[in-house]
């Protein structure tokens, strides 16, 4: 996993609540046995007018010229609900997103993001509203400073606003250091063995 320290990028505003993982990556694209090849199908049903993915839907935010190259997704509550498919964060990451900002995330999706180094940031609904308003005024660039837990918003008129966010300490450590979580836990095999020795026989 790549280390995450700071990131500066353009915001794409996806103003929809309860975006589920079926919308992020529909089931017909889940038949791969590799972790790559999902970005092209991100938000397929909204992004394309046809089933083949050849005719972009001009009304969809990610197809609009002002959001090309966006790397920060700004969205609404309960983002990533539904299926546990990690293919959803894989698709977001491969498409180019590094950060997702929302008032709330579904639990499994949130954990999946942390595990692949895609940073999910929870802000209050008021702060998210503010960012949507800033984004509506013209292209909005954010700098995410993970070690400082800080977001700096820079609008086209060069005005700056800052926000703070919190992250579980261990999640923050893993993201900043790019920790291989399996390797980390394998260093604790003695603890796991000791636990197993004390388990009831039926279990």
């Amino acid at each position: 996993m790549e280390k995450f320290t700071t990131h500066t990028g353009l915001v794409a505003p996806l103003d929809i609540a309860n975006v589920d993982t079926d919308q992020i990556i529909p089931k017909q694209f889940l038949q791969k046995t590799t972790r790559v090849g999902f970005g092209q199908h991100l938000f397929h049903d909204s992004r394309y007018l046809d089933n083949e993915g050849k005719k972009p839907n001009p009304d969809f935010v990610l197809n609009q010229p002002e959001y090309q190259g966006a790397s920060i997704l700004l969205t609404r509550e309960n983002f990533g609900c539904g299926s546990s498919r990690e293919h959803a964060p894989w698709a977001l990451e491969e498409f180019g997103f590094k950060v997702i900002i929302a008032p709330s995330f579904a639990d499994i999706f949130y954990g999946n993001c942390i595990n692949i180094g895609l940073l999910p940031i929870t802000l209050s609904e008021a702060e998210v509203n503010q960012l949507f308003a800033l984004s509506a005024q013209g292209s909005l660039t954010l700098t995410i400073d993970l070690p400082q837990n800080k977001i700096i918003a820079k609008t086209s008129n060069n005005k700056e606003t800052s926000y703070t966010f919190t992250l579980d300490n261990f999640h923050q450590y893993c993201l900043e250091q790019g920790i291989d979580s399996v390797g980390w836990t394998l260093n604790k095999l003695d603890k796991i063995k000791a636990f197993e020795e004390n388990m009831p026989a039926w279990q």
């Binding site: 079926d22 499994i108 399996v182």
Partner: protein, 473 residues
């Protein structure tokens, strides 16, 4: 936490599985049982191979084929090229890592959350995970069970543990007795209607109350299955005599002395009197009517005798906007009677409602109509997909398949099927489906298709009448 502090069932399950909880690290918990299937495991196996790591406990891992498979043929190739590749990859991986696999038409094959409980792989007091969000189903046995992503599947393979943050606790109490014909599906949809689609995000929910205790294990599984549909990390029902009677004698359940030890232990698995929950929700069972979803999240649900709502019925701005968007997608007009909504497809199946009791409930309705020579409407295509080969065989033994086939339903082979449409059981644009599954998301059953979540009895009646029916009217 001292011994004298009353604990919730979740606290007890958490404590007994805590391997390590140190400052600065997310707690590490032990996983007793890992269920896997073809869709969310290949990348986890690939990473194990890349790092040259073994599966720590292949004997604690069980695989089945369910998501992708054809419900018309037992041939792997019948599922299509991509699916067949995934199924063969699962076969290869299970062989290489020594994992027991229930492959095509194996007597134990079935939807992972139907197969686990019916084989006795699902036991009270254990931690069960699977790369599938409906793992919450197994909470019906008083097991801490939840869905995980593929990176976590890999973590469990390599370490038999997971890093988890302790969730908050919610008690949902359903008091009294439900009315005639009200199913577990109606109870859980009514609960989600109260909480909304994210009402339990960050919580583990324990379902209690007379109406829950009165349920069979199949019904309890339907309740816990949909815990994820209102955001819960897991759903739990404390094990009792019903649970123990269900598990006893099943193929993988403990036997002899071990069985007695297990039962003695399971009897301690209830929330203590006075245990404090972070949130409590109470429902009166007698108030629950048959439920039908009208929107594109499971929380957008209402009673059979009511009307499709209007955005003006909601005060919250997000709910108002979501209602407007859902009505547009669903092609519904506010104020329409739910019983006036016509459907052209019916799906009875999925890990929510494909067990023997679900099929019996549907068959019971079909038989009633058959007595008046009424069959599946000429405007409707209706399929029935049993949850496993064991369910299929039991249903055929009871003659349920004949009842369905004679009434014009298609009787298919087990699998996840049209719940998510990864195989060829998909709806086409504009189709409107009465479905016993768990998600009515946009495009879930096929791009541009419209899903109404209902109970097996409602789905069976809708297949015959061509619209939703108030069976209690």
């Amino acid at each position: 936490m001292t011994d004298s502090t009353p604990n919730t069932l979740y606290d007890k399950l958490w404590q007994r599985h805590l391997v390590e909880d140190v400052d600065g690290e997310t707690p590490l918990i032990y996983v007793d049982r890992h269920l896997i299937h073809e869709v969310t495991s290949p990348q986890a196996f690939a990473n194990l191979k890349y790092h040259n790591r073994p599966v720590r406990h292949p004997e604690r891992t069980i695989a089945t084929m369910d998501h992708n498979i054809s419900t018309r043929s037992i041939e792997i190739n019948a599922a299509g090229e991509g699916a067949a590749n995934q199924l063969r990859t699962l076969e290869k991986n299970c062989k290489e890592f020594g994992i027991e696999l229930f492959g095509m038409a194996h007597k134990n094959q079935g939807i992972v959350h139907v197969m686990g409980p019916e084989l006795g792989l699902t036991l009270p007091g254990t931690v069960i995970v699977c790369g599938d969000s409906h793992t919450a189903t197994h909470g019906a046995f008083g097991a801490l069970a939840f869905g995980i992503g593929t990176s976590e599947v890999e973590h469990v393979f390599a370490t038999q543990t997971l890093r988890q943050t302790k969730a908050k606790t919610m008690k949902i109490e359903v008091n009294g007795k439900v009315g005639a014909g009200i199913s577990a599906k109606d109870i859980i949809l009514a609960i989600i209607g109260v909480t909304g689609s994210a009402g339990a995000t960050g919580y583990v929910v324990e379902y209690t109350g007379d109406a829950i205790q009165a349920l069979s294990m199949e019904e309890r599984m339907t309740i816990c299955n949909m815990s994820i549909e209102f955001g819960a990390k897991a759903g739990l029902i404390a094990p009792d005599a019903t649970t123990i009677a269900y598990v006893e004698g099943r193929e993988y359940a403990p036997k002899g002395d071990l069985w007695q030890q297990a039962v003695n232990d399971w009897k301690t698995l209830q929330s203590d009197d006075g245990a404090v929950f972070d949130k409590v929700i109470t429902l009166n069972a007698a108030d629950i009517k048959a439920q039908v979803t009208w929107g594109t999240t499971p929380g957008q649900v209402t009673a059979i005798d009511s009307l499709v709502p209007s955005p003006n019925d909601f005060s919250d701005a997000v709910e108002k906007e979501s209602c407007a968007a859902a009505l547009k997608y669903m092609g519904l007009t506010a104020g329409t009677k739910i019983t006036d909504i016509s459907i052209n497809k019916v799906f009875i199946g999925s890990c929510t409602n494909s067990r023997i009791e679900d099929l019996r409930a549907a068959a019971h309705i079909v038989e009633k109509y058959a007595a008046n020579n009424q069959k599946v409407s000429t405007n409707v295509d209706a399929i029935i997909v049993p949850g496993s080969y064991r369910v299929k065989n039991q249903a055929e033994h009871e003659g349920l398949d004949k009842i369905f086939i004679n009434a014009g339903f298609e009787w298919r082979l087990p699998g996840c099927s049209m719940c998510l449409g990864m195989n060829d059981d998909v709806l086409t644009e504009g189709d409107r489906c009465a479905s016993t599954s768990n998600r009515n998301f946009e495009g879930r059953q096929g791009r541009g298709s419209r899903t109404h979540l209902v109970s097996p009895a409602m789905a069976a009646a809708a297949a015959i009448e061509g619209h939703f029916v108030d069976l209690n009217a």
